[in-house]
């Protein structure tokens, strides 16, 4: 017996672990389940371990103090050799983790893997998703910069909408009356101790159930899941047409895990670490806070929901979504597993994915936000000034000076909060423009108090020129009739005359 085998025996005599290892590695999987579609769960575990490792590395340097966190991040980026790379791997790792967990969830839903007897595996998975998102948010806070500071402000404002106990929730979230040192400390505790501890426990439970219940078989249309027969069918399937997990299926998991780790590393090396952006100093108000990628859909949703729906959507929406996910295996615990026979499931997932994608896409250019420096930064296009009268040119200056540009674009630049004004004169008559500028309305502020009559006259005369050369300016039809005086019709003429 070689020396190595003797040492192995010594440990085995005391640990008695060999049967457990053999059972784990050799547990049978259905032949078709040893598929590339089944690698996302192990990939999520891989990224989770990568996050734990890089997280510990960062904790060697990071200072969880509101006064020094930002400086310690700068030190990590620029002072510690390869600190920037580790921050990059941890930051990109979080992106990959959220993405892989979501893909894993979609795959599991499409393959009907949440059905009997794997209901609890799914429910534990739903909590794992929540914890992953919790890690993403708390991690964003630990990158204690302007985005983190104002992101906390948004979180507190959402908590402030809770009826009756809103103030308590706000103070509990912040650990005090304002976003300050105690806030960062408690998010540090959550990100480093509480949620990772829960994650490790829940991941273990999740894995244990996968081992005990076996991996989901490849769904076949027409193969119906029934509580009375499923366990026997699955057992037959794995024994007749199955193979041991090692090496039958594990090689795909291993190769995919390596690809994922390499991808995270490449992203970190090429794109670098996330921030930190500006210092977390609330007196710097020249800032445009934005959440990280995985929360941008929420950011977009909060800008686009009708205001009266926001509080219900914020407070009731998550409860409904969570309730739906948890109850799913109970009202759909049997029946078809194949996505080919589950159109509602497929459409629900597609609809969710498309909505999520579009909201995230909108958040990349935030059409609902005023562009804060458009009025001073974007020039009026030359063709809108050529050959114009002095009054009209004065109007274009008023247009810029009064920050109209922050919400209205012309010539393709400026805000998108209000409509683009390149052809506004086609849509609105002179009188309508005056009224709109002075009184506002339709989500536009009234400028009557901020513009004197001369400025209004100049501004509107400029707006009157904004129409394509081949399209005439909008005119008041009634006024046109009365002035042209052609074939006066008795039923229209008196109305026009009154105007």
């Amino acid at each position: 017996m070689s020396r190595l085998a003797k040492i192995g025996d010594w440990f085995e005599q005391r640990l008695k672990i060999e049967p457990v290892l053999k059972e784990t590695m050799g547990h049978p999987v259905p032949r078709q389940s040893a598929s590339w579609f089944y690698v996302f769960g192990s990939a999520a575990l891989t990224v989770f371990m990568l996050q734990i490792f890089t997280g510990i590395m960062l904790a060697l340097i990071y200072v969880p103090s509101a006064g020094q966190a930002w400086d310690s991040l700068q030190y990590l980026n620029h002072g510690v050799p390869l600190g920037w790379l580790l921050r990059g791997v941890h930051g990109w790792g979080s992106n990959f983790m959220v993405a892989i967990v979501l893909i894993h969830m979609v795959q599991v839903a499409l393959f009907g893997a949440y059905k009997f007897p794997r209901e609890l595996t799914w429910i534990v998975g739903v909590f794992l998703l929540l914890m992953t998102l919790g890690m993403a948010f708390t991690g964003q806070v630990l990158r204690f910069d302007q985005d983190a500071y104002w992101g906390l402000g948004i979180g507190a404002s959402i908590c402030g909408r809770v009826p009756f106990i809103g103030a308590w929730v706000v103070h509990l979230l912040l650990g005090g009356p304002i976003i300050a040192g105690d806030t960062l400390s408690r998010f540090f505790a959550l990100h480093v101790f509480v949620i990772p501890g829960l994650l490790i426990g829940f991941v273990s439970l999740h894995l244990l159930m996968v081992l005990k219940l076996g991996i989901n078989e490849w769904p076949m249309p027409g193969r119906i899941v029934r509580r009375s027969t499923y366990l026997q069918q699955y057992s037959e399937m794995t024994h007749k047409d199955g193979m041991p997990f090692v090496p039958g299926a594990v090689w795909k998991d291993l190769i995919f895990a390596a690809i994922i780790i390499a991808s995270v590393l490449v992203c970190a090396a090429v794109f670098g670490p996330y921030g930190p952006s500006g210092q977390p100093d609330p007196t710097i108000v020249q800032t445009v806070p934005k959440p990280d990628f995985f929360f941008q859909w929420l950011y977009a949703l909060l800008a686009l929901l009708p205001p009266q729906m926001e509080t219900p959507a914020l407070l009731i929406g998550p409860v409904i979504a969570l309730g739906f996910l948890i109850l799913l295996p109970f009202f759909a615990g049997e029946g078809e597993k194949s996505w080919k026979r589950r159109p509602i499931a497929v459409v629900t997932i597609l609809l969710t994915a498309v909505s999520w994608g579009e909201l995230t896409h909108l958040a990349t250019y935030t059409p609902w936000s005023p562009v804060m420096d458009a009025w001073s930064g974007d020039p009026v296009p030359v063709q809108y000034l050529k050959g114009r009268s002095p009054l009209e040119r004065e109007g274009s200056a008023v247009f810029q000076e009064k920050q109209c540009r922050n919400c209205h674009s012309i010539g393709g630049s400026g805000g998108q909060r209000g409509p683009a004004l390149d052809s506004v004169a086609v849509r609105m008559t002179h009188a309508q423009l005056v009224r709109q500028v002075v009184q506002g309305g339709g989500n536009m502020p009234a400028y009557g108090k901020q513009l004197n009559p001369a400025e209004v006259a100049a501004l509107v005369s400029f707006l009157d020129t904004l129409h394509p050369p081949n399209q005439p300016q909008a005119r008041d039809a009634a006024r046109q009739l009365s002035s042209q005086d052609e074939r006066p019709k008795p039923e229209i003429a008196p109305v026009a005359a009154q105007k």
């Binding site: 103090s65 509101a66 006064g67 020094q68 104002w150 402000g153 948004i154 507190a156 404002s157 959402i158 908590c159 402030g160 909408r161 809103g166 103030a167 929730v169 706000v170 103070h171 509990l172 912040l174 650990g175 005090g176 009356p177 304002i178 976003i179 300050a180 040192g181 105690d182 806030t183 210092q279 977390p280 100093d281 609330p282 007196t283 108000v285 800032t287 445009v288 806070p289 950011y299 909060l302 800008a303 205001p307 509080t311 609902w368 936000s369 005023p370 804060m372 009064k402 920050q403 109209c404 922050n406 909060r417 009184q439 506002g440 989500n443 502020p445 009234a446 400028y447 108090k449 901020q450």
Partner: protein
Amino acid sequence: MSEQGTSGQATAPARAQDTSRRDFFVKVGLLLNGIAVAALATPVVGYLLSPIMRSKQYRQWVDLGELDEFPEGQTRLAKFKNPISNVWDGATDNLPCWVRRMHGEKFQVFAINCAHLGCPVRWFPQSGLFMCPCHGGVYYQDGTVASGPPPRGLFEYPYKVEDGHLMIEAGQLPTLATQASLKTRSKECQG
């Protein structure tokens, strides 16, 4: 249960009695642990809830500076140190607010935080508007909503003038639940 404790010749009823005795002591043990945990939990809960227990002490009068710093008819950014702060707060206990001096000693002091979701609103004197960079909330110079999603006007701090200094009562992040002032605003010139 255990064989050793009955010293050889014990009868069946004696064993049953023995078992029930042990069951009893298990229960006593659990009860003692319950008491110990409750004794521990009470201070822990108090510790965890401490941020909300002191709610009344959060607000204090703070000095924003001399009246001369705020010209009449203008709105300016002022900074103050939060009444409750720690050395490890860094720059975060330095808070901004918008001070609008209408005339004489008549002021409006607005929180920086948008009433929608707390982002920092910016003042544009040319158009007389506060604009929020996050979700497009816009307010008039008197703090009333001009456009966008905010459910109410800007939060206002209560103020007073003392010895030529402008004082505001501040101390907590204003949200819909933790407002800067409890005074309800009448809706002036909407639209």
